[in-house]
Amino acid sequence: MSSMKKAFDNLIVIGRPACGKSEFIDFIKNKTGDADRLKNLFIVPFQELDDFVWLWEKCGEDDIWEKLGYERIVSKRSGNGYFISNHRLYDFLIEKMNCEAGNLFKSNPEFHRDRTLLIEFSRGLKNAYDNALNRLSEEILRKAAIFYIKVSFEESLKRNEARYREKLKHSILAHKVPDEEMYEYYNVDDWDDITVGKEGGHLTLRGIKVPFVTMGNEPESKDPAVLGPRYSNALGRLWDLRR
């Protein structure tokens, strides 16, 4: 962590789809002021890199390829979303994350002086996070802390559907992670394996010791009075572990 500020440099926010990553970011963006966010959550004004945006873009490009008479490259259509048929896309997305973060740091070597970088993604299958986290660049990992937001698969499935229903009220363009993707890709992940079931500690990634904390995010709550302490408790522990 930077000695210039008492806040995370690179905070990696991970967990199943609809586990609460976006709600966490909404909370720190809109429901807490700068001073409180720094004091309770150790986050200064922040910038986000969320690989979902790039994933969605690639699926959109597949639509164009199909329209032009070519085979899709990474996805197939599934309901109101996309099923990722080429799992190498997930590795591509981590490489893109490395590239984008690298560009940010290169264009502003003082980036971390007064900013936190939030890195957000979700992975499934038995080598989900072991593979993804070990692909992140050393540049990111050296200043990273990992915040895993934990919900059960059933809860993830339920919230994914509920979020979609809610969005449908406002837009016909609403989309969700398709059920087949949920069952085939996100059903299991390896977080408990790589952390040996611990709620906090360190992972060794590319030879770098990176602190992590696992925050249970059930029962679901939208009440800032519940979420505030839940987040600050987890991130307080994570802040202590960074030492």
């Binding site: 490009e61 164009i64 390829w65 070519y70 490259i73 590795d91 591509f92 490489e95 893109k96 590239c99």
Partner: protein
């Protein structure tokens, strides 16, 4: 009343002088540019940006342990399109349609005081005829075409010279590699499409589009030479545009 182009299509071989034309226009005050060249304040849509982005993504696919999709590193750090990447050119035409519709045609007021440059190079199998034919009518019916003509040899010479000049200032300099140039850009269909006429109209999907083929040799950086060269070509093009309306 000052009258200017809405969509000016800048076509030609690689390094024919499209970018130099745009650089030149950037340096001319708005009022003079409108009066002499019929070009308002302008914005550009250039498919090279999308092509380069895909080449950079190919680096990421490679790092992820996958084959590159469109390009090959023919020269270290300087990828070029490989034959299998041909489809990317079709993708770009689709993208022109999307981007121009979303960013410009959706704002008719843009054209009150702006010209949009639409810039691309084509050759060999992927012809100008096919490329132009894939643009939407709402783009074409506001269009005039300035084809910047240089020979194959001159295109290659300038491509290499530009690269060597850029290398002096940046390790990120790039050029069309020989393999890509030979495969994609040795020949083109522009002269046959226009029956070797230096100006006139071509029919694209039933629409009559004015064009001028501007000879851009010998190369010059002298503003007085370029002012005359560009001015004559665009004056003629505007005249055709007006007559054709």
């Amino acid at each position: 009343m000052v009258t200017t182009f809405d969509h000016l299509l800048l076509l030609g071989r690689p390094a024919s002088g499209k970018s130099e034309f745009i650089d030149f226009m950037k340096k001319i005050p708005d009022a003079d540019r409108a009066k002499i060249f019929h070009i308002s304040k302008f914005e550009e849509v250039d498919d090279f940006v999308w092509i380069w982005e895909k080449f950079m993504e190919d680096d990421l696919w490679e790092k992820a342990g996958c084959p590159r999709l469109y390009s090959k590193n023919y020269m270290p750090g300087n990828p070029g399109m490989e034959p299998e990447g041909l489809r990317l050119l079709k993708f770009c035409m689709h993208k022109f349609n999307d981007v121009i519709k979303e960013k410009y045609l959706s704002r008719p007021e843009f054209y009150n005081d702006h010209t949009l440059f639409i810039e691309f190079a084509r050759g060999n199998q992927h012809t100008f005829k096919e490329a132009l034919g894939s643009l939407k009518p709402e783009i074409l019916n506001r269009a005039a075409i300035l084809f910047i003509y240089v020979t194959r040899e001159e295109s290659w010479r300038r491509n290499v010279a530009r690269y060597q000049e850029n290398l002096k200032h940046s390790i990120l300099a790039h050029m069309v590699p020989k393999e890509t140039f030979d495969h994609f850009y040795t020949d083109h269909d522009w002269l046959s499409m226009t029956h070797n006429e230096s100006n006139g109209y071509i029919m694209v999907n039933g629409l009559k589009i004015p064009f001028v083929t501007m000879n851009n040799e010998p190369e010059s950086t002298d503003p007085s030479v370029l002012t005359k060269r560009y001015g004559d070509a665009l004056e003629k093009l505007y005249e055709l545009h007006e007559k054709g309306v």
